[in-house]
Symmetry: C2
Subunit: 332 residues, 2 copies
Amino acid sequence: MPELRKDPIVGRWVIISVERGKRPSDFASPSQKRKAAGFCPFCPGNEYTTPEEIMAFRAPDSQPNSTGWTLRVVPNKFPALHVQGELNKSGEGIFDKMNGVGAHEVIIETPDHISSLATMPPRAVEDVLRAYHMRIADLKKDPRIKYVLVFKNEGEAAGASLEHTHSQLIALPIIPKIVREELNSSRLYYDMKERCIFCDLVAQELEDERRVVCENEHYLAIAPFAPRGPFETWILPKEHESAFRPRNGSFSLLAEILQRVLKQLDKLLDVPPYNFIIHTSHFTEESNEYYHWHIELMPKLTKIAGFEWGSGFYINPTPPEDAARYMREVHI
Amino acid sequence: MPELRKDPIVGRWVIISVERGKRPSDFASPSQKRKAAGFCPFCPGNEYTTPEEIMAFRAPDSQPNSTGWTLRVVPNKFPALHVQGELNKSGEGIFDKMNGVGAHEVIIETPDHISSLATMPPRAVEDVLRAYHMRIADLKKDPRIKYVLVFKNEGEAAGASLEHTHSQLIALPIIPKIVREELNSSRLYYDMKERCIFCDLVAQELEDERRVVCENEHYLAIAPFAPRGPFETWILPKEHESAFRPRNGSFSLLAEILQRVLKQLDKLLDVPPYNFIIHTSHFTEESNEYYHWHIELMPKLTKIAGFEWGSGFYINPTPPEDAARYMREVHI
């Protein structure tokens, strides 16, 4: 008998095929190993083909928009939102709209075209996380910006249009719906219990162990209880922390667990396409007792069909208890 | 400047590229024209390969599970939910779950392997809608069932695993999240205004005209104000009607407008993959003043990437005003 499970935070129900679960080998997703064929605008020497860099980690003697960098952040060449202009909100009968003020940036994670977040040196992963944090801190100063969404599409099937490893961020004048749902729901829980729902989740998962993928001193990776798809993985700080930030001034342990999870997935699913997104607290109450930042990561293994799209209801053929066990057992 | 628009019903924000919108020819989706190669379990003569039929429209002298039918409804061979068993709800710390009681059925829309909903005779489309209605009416009698979700995945890219045209339904012991959001929000609107939000929407769209795709005496097809993707189309009854049902005892006008929309999309986008889903009122208050049933249809033209998946926030490169105009101008 399949099982219906409810995500405790956003209240989303999923169907889990508990008795005849799909194993990693049942998913035939195209391997995202990089081939490095053709011209790449993100490779060193081609800096002139991107919009001018917003920031970079580069050798002290190098010039902006030239070689000598280890990481670059540039505006998206085809931005979903524009930086210039006043934020005008208006109505049209029952409809609400505002002009598309915001930012859309690309984090070019490494000069090496063949590397991925799973294969680059740990220090480079740390730098990527540090760049996210620096960009969020900078964009937060803009009073028009209410939220910054950091995300990564890895592989064409997951929406990446360029092979060279990169992440993106979109700075928004509104709080996105799913984040708002998480905020509202965790605030409600806090009002009832005086505890953070994510802290309770971390405690329960550590006690239960079945859905634990891996952990280190500060972070925990789990297969969530009601995952939307096979091998969905969350990474959370073990101690309460509402907004994405370094721990004791460093991102090294976060980089370690993120890379470990990615290496496990690569090994298990032959370098699958995936998406991840960072959910952090909103700027207006960034430090609070009820919300707990985290990373949600989902390999792209199944097609999202009409049922999921029109219902918010997912069918997942791999129980998270199995997924976590496969992940734990893989040798990386 | 792009525009941020909010869906008035579920409060979802989307980014619309209003100034450099993508035209139909900018989308290269694989044509879903049928090829009829190989063995098909849904073709006449192969009835023995499906689970036993639940209902069928067939010649009076024909036998169940044999040829002679024009439409068959069979259980899904790999059901997401099971019909047998008691509905047990239980908790596990902060988690909630129940066993997967429900139904998962397939509506084989025609014996003709090459036909689609867009190309079959209008009377056959009417029969498909009639079959949906009959199955919902039957499943409603089961006290364990709270909702029936009718949906269609057309084409492999939209999640269809078999080419022969078919729809599906999933009968659920809970109300799916998006439907619950629509119900809650339209009830709230009704409490404030004593009017149905969908009725207000229909009136505004008919007055405005820019997003009208087509209409007939009883139904309206529109490109919604805040569509999640290019050419998303909704079909609604013009007069208030909370639950999916025939109009004056007939589905002929609904079949007419649904087929017209599908023919327009096929012509404009070269037989695109698509999903549609029927949103109807919940069984516990099926006849009410605040909710208004409708069909949501989305051609599968863009990839849903991490941003959309993790935020509930969509980027749509085709303004609905353009999409509706393209649809109106196509000759079918």
